[in-house]
Amino acid sequence: MFLTSTTGKYVSLRRTIGLSSGLALLLGNEAIARGALEAGIGVAAAYPGTPSSEIVGSLYDVASDVGIYVEWSTNEKVAFELCWAAALSGVRALTAMKHVGLNVASDALMSSAYTGVREGFVVVSADDPSMWSSQNEQDNRLYGLISYVPVFEPENPGEAKELTRFLFDFSSQMKHPVILRTTTRLSHTRGQVSLGPIPKPKTAGEFRPEPGYALLPGNSRVRRLELLRKWESIEKELAKFPFNEVRGDGKTLIVAAGLSHAYVSELVNRLGLTDRVRILKLTTVYPVPKDLLLRAVEGVEKVVVVEELEPVVELQVRALLGASGVNVEVVGRGLHERAYEVTFEKVESVLRKVFDLPPASEKGGDGGSQVNIPPRPPVFCPGCPYRPLFFELRRVINQAKIKAVFAGDIGCYSLAYYPPYRLQDTCVEMGGSIGLGNGFSRVLGDAVVVSVIGDSTFYHAGIPALVNAVYNEHPQLVIVLDNMVTAMTGHQPSPSTRLNGRYVPLENLVRGLGVELVSIVDPYDIGRVREEFLKAVEYVKASRRPAVLIFRRKCALVALDEMREAGEPIAPYVVDGQKCTGCGICYNFFACPAIGSGDDRKAYIDPDLCIGCGACAPVCPFKAIAPSKPIDQERLARYWF
């Protein structure tokens, strides 16, 4: 359905394409996409990353209907640069990335403030408070401070659409890139959006050279001074920014931006505080407009800043009030835990403290019986090619007593950190596997260093590290998991995805770099997994050079989708209760979610969850697992490769 299909995923945006008025329920990310369409963008590009993926994903889905150019690029920097060039040439462009993606594109971001743009350029940074799908909780509003790029934040999908459209005009007017900052909660909240017309997009540009586009030191020094002057005019312009708002006449000013404002608004009503507060709703989170703040603070006795993560707005408020000689108490930091996303509970406790209300009564644990509720971390899907691979690697490492360090990476395979596989000792950032592998293999003596990286992540940031491994002779075994798609984020094409027959073959690339031992293995073939792994370990030990094993089989969700599309019957596998001894290898160590066990410890396959892949059959030492009806797995292979 919505989760797995590779086409028609963004039906909600697609359905609105013919409409120029009325209401639609759109995901925050789709609303941003719609705003960009209504602003007449000609180009969009991105590398996928939760929670940003649906922005360019939904644009990709409607690109040919609207007549714009949209691509999935190899990484965020490449996507940023493509869009930047379009905007330099007078074509409106949008790039979107998760917060840590902007780290990858940050080199480009810094220079883009120096060059400026000729037409609107919106950079969407989708941050991930609470780290639902990320390695850290960085607050990318701070990028505004270092780059001199203004940062804006909407509070709901409806406003996200309007703001995005407006920002293209603002960026065009100021000839400057802008950052639209969203968060997981906003990006993945569906809400009402009022639709406006979509103009005919301008997709062809014209390049007019300027010295400020060539940032050699002499030009950069000039541009730096111009940037500082431009920043003053941006600050001035933001004083009348229509998405900011001051309301109410109370003696306490609450300053809130983005989602924090949504929580504040609802709670002020619910707690009966309407007459006691004035609210400054901020959409311009950096820079906070000075004149607006000074107006809002007139006659108030106290300022309360409610914000998520770092005190970005609060520090500006303190600095602006201090510099203007306004002597009023400001509170914010310390009223609640800085970590994790803003919630009703958090904002309510802040308001109760500030207004001296009794603490809210705690719900939960109302005296009923207790029960064991087992944790349910995310797992590899039924049919996932990574499961048999990690199952067999864990087994061979235990049996052959190999001392190994696994430098992992970002993708579905990060889940191999968890039992029963435990094959990710590190997982730090995109491409970090081979990069750390270079260092580990230099200093860890006789331990075998194995880097594990997916195809999409390898193209994204793994290649420079592998070039380094070859050139500087770092003895590590690199495992590339090639499921021919960027799976974790929703099946966007990676350069290994066959797109109208076009792709960039991994093995050619790796051999071309000079890696001598390169093998391509089907991860379902656990006998060969074992054999090739042991061979590669020996090669790395003996030659002191890197080797690459490519484990290739399509993501099961893609294969399954294509089978269903083609009307292939799916025959689940079953366990023969006579042969099953209840050893538990299949449900405890192979650990497919479709395999469970009964009171007699014998295995049982849930026919609703089993996709008939057959990967579990060779795992059973007693040959107790077989298809429920005959399946021609060789014929089905075309869906898997």
Binding site: F2, L3, N156, V371, R376, A591
Partner: protein, 215 residues
Amino acid sequence: MGSVRELNIVIAGVGGQGQLFLSRLVAETFLRYGVPSMVAETHGMSQRGGSVLVHVRVGKDVRAPLIPKGRADIMLGMELIETARYVDYVKEGGVILANDKMIVPPGQHAKVERSALIEYVSGRSVRLYLLPSSSRAASLGIPLSANVHIFGALVALLELAGIFGAEVDSLVEALLPRRFLTQNTVLYRLGKEDLKSVVNPVGLTGIQKLLGLLS
């Protein structure tokens, strides 16, 4: 209908069971009645067979997406362990419509008992209605559509509470998945019937009282 101020529904289940589609059915139905709604979805890593909680907030007073614990009027439980995990989101006297399917996480098989879960949930101050959603869906040959059955049950509940009128069926049936539309329509209607047969007259009064406050 236009007067719903705040109705909070949490949807609990296992990634892949169709919580997102279910939440969209609910929100789109209210949109057709002109009532604004917000749905906080779960994407990314948790989708991979993990525990999923989707927040649906409906009504004109709603500004923010998340439902705090103890403030959900209704829970739709797609799976028993997840229903138990999130039961604290349901307010005192709230309604839980729970699919009686249990999906045990890998490696946890010895440690969970269906009867203990049901006892735990019904021991709270909530009204629990168990529904055979998965088996109904399976018997129609669309095992992954238990969400459509539970949606039918929700619509019937809101009809009993006087929030939806008889016109709801024609609004809703246009939203059902087009793949296997005939089976899905049957399943939706079965969901409505099943709900009506498990809600006894005493419970019904309670539900009308509970949800009647909202409209």
